[in-house]
Symmetry: C2
Subunit: 172 residues, 2 copies
């Protein structure tokens, strides 16, 4: 697996069932959402803006994409689970590189993560934020089922605050 | 990571928060349990019985252990989430081997799984059963936090029926 293949397999619309475990107080949160992952062009203005934000040469980007999600959580009926972000891989080798994004997962700010692929084709992404760090693992069970585990840790990286798991079924 | 280290890190009592996603109908199940993982001796009668059951030479076993769990699910108030089983690794190399058990995860029957470790120290276990197959991934975030993803597939291995995720916090 390389980043082009991984993004290529991810393109589409996914029905996501996500459970978040808030570890300190043992709470289970259930989130249902629809996720759309779409290729974007290498000259897309949003991508060029992202490159400028991160001071990155656009020619170093491979397989950029946009993720858009919308859903609902049982945590808070008024909470909107909705967003969109542009993601741009910058491979350093076949198996690892950086991932730029214009909206973070742990915090709503631009972020740069480091990714690599394990020998069983799991995509592992570590992203430091100001007050937290995120560790994500994403893998395909088959071409229509994707699993994702996301851990939010304190910024020192010592304690896991939230562990969440998504099972994602391809719709298109 | 090898199997001795993996079992060694697992010994203890763990508070487990588990979410099961029943994919066909989008149901979320929440399970709270306490899991105890304890070493057993190489001459433990339960281990010798397991070896006999699977026609395996006891001298090929490394780091056998007993798992005991007790908890509750929000799926069915009357359902007892409780059990115990003996597990016996039979390494074929440092990174892979077989795992014998006297009670299965997908079905309550003896089972033999095949395990391996990825290059980021995730323990991956594939276990075929009569009517289903289970794929499990277990990894340590640190010495006190363990994650486990379990997929139950149809026996043909084609469809994922249940995807579940446990976050486990060491108590002792």
């Amino acid at each position: 697996m390389n980043i082009q293949e991984f993004v290529g397999q991810s393109i589409g619309t996914w029905k996501s069932q996500r459970s978040a475990h808030h570890l300190a107080f043992g709470h289970f949160e259930a989130i249902n959402s629809l996720i759309e992952i779409a290729e974007i062009a290498l000259d897309d203005p949003a991508l060029l803006a992202l490159c400028e934000l991160h001071n990155t040469d656009p020619s170093s980007i491979v397989a950029p994409f946009r993720m858009t999600w919308e859903g609902e959580t049982d945590w808070d009926d008024d909470q909107k689970v909705k967003g969109t972000c542009v993601l741009a891989p910058v491979p350093a080798s076949v198996k690892h590189g950086k991932l730029l994004r214009d909206q973070g997962y742990a915090e709503e700010m631009p972020a740069i993560g480091e990714y690599f692929f394990t020998d069983d084709d799991t995509f592992v992404l570590n992203t430091p934020y100001d007050r937290a760090a995120a560790e994500e693992k994403i893998w395909f069970v088959d071409s229509n089922v994707r699993c994702r585990v996301s851990l939010i840790k304190t910024s020192a990286g010592s304690g896991v605050v939230t562990a969440s798991f998504s099972s994602e079924i391809r719709q298109t």
